[in-house]
């Protein structure tokens, strides 16, 4: 029954194949045939076994017993093959109908013979394993289904993609990825630190660090105070200072300080892991070496159309940009080295760089100045709104105005847009980084001041407590003295919370500035251009303001820096990640709306090649740079004495030592102390350095081998092409001639041919001849192969064996033919006549 069905299927498959065969290309059909043969063989095997099954016509079990070892092995192999086929079915370039039928057949085969495999005890195990495998596959598929359903904003991104092409959409995909990472960080911090503290920690008002001081209580709920993250917000679980240094909290004996420390570290660990993993995946995926310039035209032709585009306007732009890029490459190709005033250009480039360095230094100094000034402001009473927010305002303004300034200056340099983009990115990066680090340095000054102040306050607190105690004792009351109200206890400055607040404020002002920039720079501008165009003296849409383009690199860099701030601040302000999650969420919707409503597609898009990993590399760098200050403060600054989970300790990391000593058995502490021994750590670091060195060397060797192979291939190609061209142009008589002149070395005959071609080509303009002058120049290192007229593709080995320039053009003995010599009868060459029968000679 089933056999018949199978045979029918087989037949239909063959019919289908027969129908398809003429349309497929030769090679493929050959392949197919091979496959068919194999399949048929398989089918035969199958039928044989089937027949055997049916002929023995006994019970199934005895049948299986009768199978010999080899048959079993073969069957097993077939089943495995079929399984592989099922797994890779979707990768096959077949029609769906064929895929479906082959799939059904393979599944039936597996179903049927799976049970027959394995022997005795092994059989049960095998069956069990198969069952588990099946369950696993099913589970994986369900899980994948679930996972794809969880990916948000697919439709939004698609919309953007169809309007702006893949490059703008890549920003939104990056934003989405960032949102995912932040969500995990948010889960870590909220789940393990903030929520336990709120649920199980001491409530608000129970101790000084959790209470607003008496002097501030009157204004603590005012919006202007809250907006600066002072008042009640400052004394909430969002900031470091709120946490208590109690070792365990609640009935769970949750070790909060320990958890706080570990979460702080794992935030960095997780981020590092995620960034590096996605970088590795990107690198794996792209076997492409983007700077390979062998396929300029081919790539332009076959990969420049963005299949995602689904909007007529974008399509128009794309058509125009492709046309321009083709024209540009043609021009580049035709005049690869045109003369220009190199001195002027050099001067302009140096000038531009000097200007930009001045800008960078200026902005750095400005920030330092402002932060210093803000410290004096913070000591004064009743300062205005501007004075309080000066730092944030100045930093945001710098971030807003410097990049366009750089772009203007970069116009001096006149780089190719792709290179210009890289320079621009590097400069913005330097600006942001410089600003960030000046800010940090100034903050560090502040922290040191606070640390000095703290010692004084510590004594005051101490004495206040004692005097309070004494006074209540001195009153003669026998009962325990009423505890001092927590609001009245003098406080230290708590530098950790200060740092946290600074970073949170910076983040919030950055969010606001970004949104306002989008609103004003994009939306208002678009409205103005759109509606004032009816009554304006020039064309606003095509002329000066026009619509804004979406600034991909600037936005990505902004996102990356924002993330750096988050990483840096999350240790001192656990609530910061929550703010960031909100920011990313709103910015997804807001920017999507802005880009769709008020931006126009790029007229020319120059994608930085391998941009994915470029941005990821920046992210990694920022992660590392934001890890540094946090690690420094953890390792070498003493925590405040009266706030935060580590108060009372000399250093923050002591919480680990404490946990190990108190909670683990003794030998763990011992092992730990051995591991932490510098005698062990230094060799470990050395080992790692050596490993890196070795791997680096190996990678370099591979790279070199790769380049070598590439060169070899190129050479082979060129040689073959040459041979073919020569064959095409050399007529048999010339062959004879060459035979006559056999004594001359092979290379010389090559030279001669090359020369022939040279004379021949200006009129013929053969494609192969004029295509690669630059390549030939690179190989030969000689100037004579510059223009398009001097077209010849010499065999490469010639250039390897001898310096080309003098030899090629020097008249050989017996061949007195200088360049461009009008061909005539050459004495001493009886049979040379037919050589001159070239067309147009």
């Amino acid at each position: 029954n089933s056999d018949g069905k199978k045979a029918g299927e087989e037949g239909s498959r063959q019919r289908e194949r027969g129908k398809k065969a003429p349309t497929k290309d030769q090679k493929e059909s050959e392949n197919k045939e091979k496959k068919t043969n194999k399949k048929e063989k398989e089918g035969d095997d199958k039928q044989k076994t089937d027949r055997k099954n049916s002929t023995t016509s006994s019970s199934n079990s005895s049948d299986e017993e009768s199978l010999s070892e080899e048959e079993l092995a073969m069957l097993m192999e077939q089943v495995e093959q079929k399984k592989k086929l099922i797994a890779t079915m979707r990768n096959k370039p077949w029609r769906m109908m064929k895929k479906l039928s082959v799939l059904r057949e393979a599944q039936a085969f597996v179903e049927k013979f799976e049970g027959a495999l394995g022997k005795g005890k092994g059989k049960k195990l095998y069956a069990y394993k198969m069952m588990m495998a099946k369950k696993w596959v099913k589970f994986k598929r369900d899980f994948d289904n679930f996972k794809t359903q969880c990916i948000p904003w697919e439709m939004k991104i698609k919309e953007v993609e169809s309007h702006f092409g893949s490059s703008v959409a890549s920003y939104f995909i990056f934003l989405r990825w960032m949102y995912g990472v932040n969500l995990v960080l948010f889960g870590l911090i909220f789940g393990l630190v903030i929520i336990p503290e709120i649920l199980m920690g001491m409530p608000y008002g129970s101790m000084p660090r959790k209470t607003v001081p008496r002097a501030e209580q009157a204004t603590a709920m005012d919006f202007s105070v809250l907006w600066d993250f002072e008042g009640y917000i400052k004394y909430s679980a969002l900031f470091y200072g709120y946490y208590n240094n109690q070792r365990t909290i609640g009935w769970l004996k949750y070790r909060l300080p320990m958890a706080y420390f570990m979460v702080g570290i794992s935030v960095f660990g997780y981020s590092l892991m995620v960034v590096i993993r996605s970088m590795a995946r990107n690198a794996n995926e792209s076997t492409a070496d983007g700077d390979d310039d062998n396929f300029i035209f081919s790539w332009k032709m076959f990969t420049s159309w963005d299949y995602l585009i689904g909007n007529p306007e974008t399509a128009d732009n794309k058509f125009a940009s492709i046309t321009t890029s083709f024209k540009e490459s043609i021009v580049d190709e035709q005049e690869s080295n045109k003369d220009e005033n190199i001195h002027l250009r050099r001067f302009l480039r140096v000038l531009a760089n000097v200007l930009i360095i001045c800008c960078l230094c200026g902005s750095g100094y400005l920030i330092y100045f402002v932060v210093k000034r803000s410290q004096t402001f913070s000591k004064m009473q009743n300062v205005g709104w501007y004075e309080r927010n000066e730092v944030e305002i100045v930093m945001s303004l710098l971030g807003m105005f410097c990049p366009p300034l750089f772009e203007t200056i970069a116009a001096l340099e006149n780089y190719h847009p792709r290179i210009g983009l890289k320079w621009q990115l590097g400069r913005i990066f330097a600006l942001f980084l410089g600003n960030l680090y000046t800010f940090l340095l100034a903050l560090m000054d502040d922290v040191n001041e606070k640390l000095a102040e703290e010692d004084v306050v510590k004594n005051i607190t101490h004495w206040t407590l004692i005097s309070h105690h004494n006074s209540s004792v001195g009153n003669g009351s026998t009962a325990t003295p009423p505890p001092l109200d927590p609001a009245d206890v003098p406080r230290g400055p708590c530098w950790e919370t200060t740092v946290g607040i600074e970073i949170v404020r910076l983040t919030v002002s950055d969010i606001l500035v970004t949104y306002i920039t989008i609103l004003v720079g994009d939306f208002i501008r678009a409205c103005f251009v759109r509606f004032m165009n009816y009554c304006w003296c020039w064309d606003l849409e095509a002329g000066f303001p026009s619509y804004a383009e979406f600034d991909i690199s600037g936005n990505v860099l902004g996102l990356i820096f924002n993330q750096g701030m988050i990483w840096m601040g999350s240790f001192y302000a656990p609530g910061l990640v929550g703010i960031n999650v909100l920011r990313l969420l709103t910015s997804m919707y807001f920017q999507c709306w802005a880009v769709m409503s008020s931006n126009v597609p790029h007229a020319r898009v120059f994608k930085a090649s391998k941009s994915n990993n470029f941005y990821m590399g920046l992210l990694l760098l920022i992660l590392f740079l934001s890890l540094l200050p946090v690690a420094y403060t953890i390792m070498s600054l003493p925590p405040s004495f009266d706030c935060g989970p580590f108060s009372g300790k000399k250093r923050m990391y002591e919480v680990i030592q404490e946990t190990i000593e108190l909670d683990f058995p003794l030998f763990v502490a011992k092992i730990f102390s051995y591991v932490a021994n510098p005698g062990l750590i230094i060799p470990a670091i050395l080992l790692m350095v050596l490993a890196i060195y070795y791997l680096n060397a190996v990678a370099e060797a591979y790279q070199r081998a790769n380049a070598e192979l590439k060169k070899k291939m190129q050479m082979q190609r060129e040689e073959e092409k040459n041979k073919r061209n020569n064959k095409a142009s050399t007529n048999p008589v010339l062959q004879d001639l060459e035979d006559l002149f056999t004594p001359t070395t092979k290379s010389e005959s090559h030279l001669k041919q090359a020369e022939d071609k040279k004379i021949d080509s200006p009129n013929r303009t053969s494609p192969a001849a004029k295509t690669r002058p630059d390549k030939a120049a690179a190989l030969g290192g000689s100037p004579m192969t510059g223009g398009r007229g001097t077209a010849f593709t010499p065999p490469p080995h010639m250039f390897v064996t001898r310096p080309p320039a003098p030899h090629v053009w020097a008249p050989y003995p017996g061949q007195p033919r200088p360049r461009g010599y009008p061909l005539g009868p050459v004495p001493g060459r009886g049979r040379g006549q037919p050589r001159y029968s070239y067309p147009a000679q």
């Binding site: 109908m97 420049s304 159309w305 046309t323 083709f326 295509t771």
Partner: protein, 187 residues
């Protein structure tokens, strides 16, 4: 749940998931997209595999395709008999190949077929000219087009036969940095 059952049987859905890069939900979404093109032609029930073919005019008018200069070729390559009319299976096939998950080799194979306008299994000069003209909307002069085509052949033709075979094409396209990101239609 019941809604799903009426369109495909679970076995059909599983088979489609084995044969494409889509999840169950995406297959259903594609089915609805397909059905929306011609609600009166496509039955809401596919359990008994009705033989329905949508004409190219409908397929080419999808917003995903309507601005693509190669839309006709895409439809032709993926249609059963090469005339651009598609069954649901062809439709799924097409978007599966163009999805994000499809591997590079599969994409390269179909890209080759798309650019091979005359179906002779080589991308020859006339194919290249057609491609350039489609990409630039005939903005280049014939001289420039010829030059570009010659350059492409020169760059990518490894075996020196004056046209690009599938191997040549794969060799070239696999190194292209933008191929995967641009040969992709999100559905």
């Amino acid at each position: 749940m019941g809604n799903k059952q009426t369109i495909f049987t679970p076995e059909q859905l599983d088979a489609y998931q084995d044969c494409t890069f889509f999840t169950r939900k995406e297959i259903l979404r594609l089915f609805y997209r397909y059905r929306d093109l011609a609600p009166q032609l496509v039955p809401p029930d596919y359990t008994d595999k009705p033989d329905v073919t949508l004409p190219y005019q409908l397929i080419g008018s999808m917003p995903e395709l309507k601005d693509n200069p190669f839309r006709q070729r895409i439809a032709e390559v993926f249609s059963e008999n090469g005339d651009g009319n598609m069954t649901l299976d062809d439709f799924l096939d097409m978007f599966s190949v163009l999805s994000e998950m499809a591997p590079r080799d599969l994409k390269a194979y179909y890209a080759f077929k798309i650019y091979d306008f005359n179906n002779d299994d080589y991308i020859c000069k006339s194919d290249l000219e057609k491609t350039v003209n489609k990409l630039t909307r005939n903005e280049l002069t014939p001289e420039e087009v010829r030059l570009v085509c010659e350059k492409v052949i020169y760059e990518a033709d490894v075996d020196n036969d004056g046209k690009l075979s599938l191997e040549d094409f794969q060799h070239m396209i696999i190194r292209a940095p933008d191929f995967l990101s641009t040969f992709h239609i999100r559905i």
